[in-house]
């Protein structure tokens, strides 16, 4: 089963290779991995999309925790979460296709962020299914280049904490 794991790591050189090495050395899958700094610049946040049965996911979480440069590991599948991915798609457009490309972008609420007489570069954000769908529609026009960010995700705030909020306000 697919799992999304958030890993907070030290922002040091070599950390990415430790994580990647752990996955390759132990034969775990990485479907996608994205890294970026957090609010605290001494740390980075990784979103790793992986898959495996319960036992493997338990090992992945434990092995990640064991790495000294890893500060925190959260398996998002243990709660509710939202995830998004962005793709930049450079579509080759002949004169007669240009309107069609724009229509497709419009349907997916995607933006055209660059344009030349023979191409559009389209930015689309959504879940993987949406990205697959727009790619499928644009493919007949001719996709020159495609770059995907891999998924990023965040846990949904539990409903419980929302109901707690007003009480606090009331007391104050």
């Amino acid at each position: 089963m697919e799992h999304i794991i958030l890993v907070t790591v030290e922002n040091k050189f070599g950390v990415l290779s430790r994580i990647a090495g752990l996955f390759s050395g132990r034969g775990f899958n990485i479907e996608s991995l994205s890294v970026a700094p957090t609010l605290d610049s001494s740390m980075s946040q990784m979103t790793i999309v992986t898959s495996g049965d319960e036992r493997i996911i338990e090992q992945i979480v434990k092995q990640l925790n064991k790495l000294i440069d890893v500060i925190k590991v959260v398996d998002l599948n243990e709660s509710d979460f939202v995830s998004r991915e962005t793709a930049l798609i450079k579509v080759h457009t002949r004169q007669e296709d240009r309107a069609e490309a724009l229509r497709i972008a419009d349907i997916f609420r995607a933006n055209v962020i660059d344009s030349t007489p023979s191409t559009y570069t389209i930015e689309v954000t959504g879940d993987p299914k949406k990205i697959e769908a727009i790619i499928n529609l644009l493919q007949p026009l001719g996709i020159k280049e495609l770059t995907r960010t891999g998924r990023v995700a965040v846990a949904r705030e539990p409903l419980r904490s929302m109901s707690v909020q007003p009480k606090k306000v009331a007391r104050e």
Partner: protein, 591 residues
């Protein structure tokens, strides 16, 4: 006052209480060696190969419980020490390895003797550092020792570029270390420990399965207390030998592929297995799906990843063995009563029946070829009162040593378990000898594996490390030959060592002493002579070439399905003679 990186290095080692390092110089570490040469606190044992340095540091660490330290140069120095790092990583040996690196300005330029030391060692170290600034050297070394010796111990590499060893900085050695991503758990969960205690009290057929974690945690006393209090039999892994006294009536000896009959039967039929500081290695579990099918499993380990890695565990307890056992014993003292003895009466009767039915056995004819087991048994009986440290290489001799040399105390048994590194034994024995100059240190080796680090005899002679090597010389890679006999119809592909050196002359060539018993009756005398000799000794014992290690669980087999003796076709070979016959030699060399 500002110090150079090399001076800071030495100052840090002093603060860590390091007395001995095992080292081999090279271009980029010359500054450090130059400073080492000008001080007296730290002894430098100059090895003949970096692998030897690594294993010596391991032997030192295993015997003392403190971190072993080695120092190597960049490039080939680093690649040579990697086997020792991997060995230490598998067996959780606290090790700090310092490697030289080309100057920071040249890193990545394919400079002379450059290697990506951090990249090379990443999968076989607990952690590694590249020090890019001399101002960070002291705090890095402090962290390296801290990481190597805390939690589940392991090797740590510190890579020091040449310019960092020459640059100057103020020396500030931190008093404490805090790493936000590294907080090992020492105290076990109290509720889980209570659950474990309840299960132990109720169990009819319990067994303790004890590994190297008990040795490193220094929990032997607590273990003995637990076993005696509850009267539970103790199975030890290869790494756990010595954690519990081998001659104790509750000791079942070693378990696993070449474990004793009673140890393996007991773990298979147990209704409760209490694993302490062990990791359910495949050499212990055999076929995982049928490992202790009737048992509830309690697993105490400091490393959470060990728990449920191979085997489903019912009561996991993450923590230091010593702390957890102490807590567990406290609860048990209040709850254990006479009832358990009655409850487990049938279990003990069964165990004694297994024990008496299939003891470890070999047949030594008085005028026949020397049996390797007999040599080890005599060695054990002649030396046990001297509380010796015993190292082994890897192979048949290692298994016989594990079976017949019953360790009484922890930190005396030095062997390569996880990685199975041939060539480990001799340098490891030297490392232990360097830590304990006046103790008796024995190395039981095979003629195949001892040659893998033979060059260190020069180090032993120069540094007066009087290790006694007992070579069980069957002119084969014996364990390979055994598997070929059992699984490959006796085709000895590359296992026969046609020209084995004359080990007596070899010892003499190095300036050591070489001895060789000619027949069974000579063994005691020769061993005594070796022990009485002042310097290092090689005792070359020509042994029966076709002797096999039993019991044996075939690869992928279950623990209760042991082969206990040679199948009939091999028995014939056994009785065929004392050396490889000319016909044998022909088949070996032409097949």
């Amino acid at each position: 006052m500002k110090l150079t990186g090399a001076e800071i290095f030495i100052e840090c080692l002093r603060r860590e209480g390091v007395k001995t390092i095992f080292a081999l110089p090279g271009g980029v570490v010359l500054k450090i060696f130059d400073m080492l040469h000008q001080q007296k606190d730290i002894e430098v044992v100059l090895t003949r190969h970096e692998q030897g340095a690594g294993h010596m540091a391991e032997g030192y660490a295993k015997a003392t419980g403190k971190a072993g330290v080695c120092l190597v140069t960049s490039g080939p120095g680093m690649t040579n020490v990697i086997t020792a790092l991997a060995d230490a990583y598998m067996d959780s040996v606290p090790l700090v390895c310092f490697s030289g690196q080309v100057p920071t300005s040249l890193i990545g330029n394919d400079a002379f003797q450059e290697a990506d030391n951090v990249g090379l060692s990443r999968p076989c170290t607990k952690y590694n550092f590249l020090v890019k600034d001399v101002n960070e050297l002291a705090s890095t070394i402090k962290e390296a020792f801290y990481i190597a010796t805390t939690g589940r111990p392991g090797p740590v590499l510190v890579d020091i570029p040449k310019d960092v060893s020459m640059d100057k900085a103020e020396f500030n050695y931190p008093n404490s270390v805090s790493i936000r991503g590294y907080n090992p758990t020492y105290e076990g969960n109290k509720w889980q420990i209570k659950q474990a205690a309840e299960a132990i009290v109720k169990a009819k057929k319990p067994i303790l399965y004890v590994g190297g974690g008990v040795v490193f945690s220094g929990a032997s006393q607590e273990l003995i207390e637990l076993a005696e209090l509850t009267q539970i039999p103790v199975d030890m892994t290869l790494m756990g030998l010595g954690a519990f006294p081998g001659e104790h009536p509750l000791s079942m000896g070693m378990m696993g592929m070449h474990g004793t009959y009673q140890a393996n039967m007991a773990v298979h039929y147990a209704d409760l297995v209490v694993a302490i500081g062990a990791r359910f290695d495949d050499r212990v579990t055999g076929k995982v799906s049928e490992f202790c099918p009737y048992a509830k499993i309690i697993h105490i380990d400091i490393d959470p990843t060990s728990i449920r890695k191979n085997i489903h565990v019912d009561i996991p307890i993450v923590g230091d063995c010593k702390a957890v056992l102490r807590e567990l014993n406290q609860i048990l003292k209040a709850t254990v009563n006479g009832e358990q003895k009655e409850l487990r009466k049938a279990w003990w009767e069964q165990i004694r029946e297994w024990e008496q039915g299939h003891p470890l056995t070999y047949h030594q004819e008085q005028d026949g070829p020397i049996k390797p087991q007999h040599v080890i048994k005599r060695l054990y009986e002649l030396t046990k009162d001297r509380d010796p440290i015993v190292s082994t290489d890897v192979g048949q001799h290692q298994m016989w040593a594990a079976q017949y040399f019953k360790m009484a105390k922890p930190n005396r048994w030095l062997t390569s378990g996880g990685l199975g590194t041939m060539g480990f034994g001799f340098p490891a024995a030297m490392g232990a000898q360097a830590a304990f100059r006046n103790r008796l240190v024995l190395c039981i080796a095979g003629d195949g594996s001892v040659q893998m680090n033979m060059q260190e005899m020069a180090t032993a002679v120069v540094h007066k490390l009087p290790v006694k090597i007992i070579v069980l010389n069957n002119r084969f890679h014996g364990m390979v030959r055994q598997w070929q006999d059992l699984s490959y119809e006796g085709r000895y592909a590359s296992s026969y060592l046609d020209t084995t050196p004359d080990f007596v002359k070899l010892a003499e060539a190095y300036g050591a002493v070489g001895l060789r018993p000619g027949k069974v009756g000579d063994i005691d005398g020769i061993l005594k002579e070796a022990i009485a000799t002042k310097g290092p000794v090689i005792v070359d014992v020509p042994t029966h070439p076709y002797e096999n290690v039993y019991p044996m669980i075939p690869a992928g087999g279950c623990n209760h399905q042991m082969i206990l003796e040679d199948p009939p076709e091999l028995k014939q070979k056994q009785s065929s003679g004392d050396t490889v016959t000319p016909q044998d030699k022909d088949t070996i060399l032409t097949a």
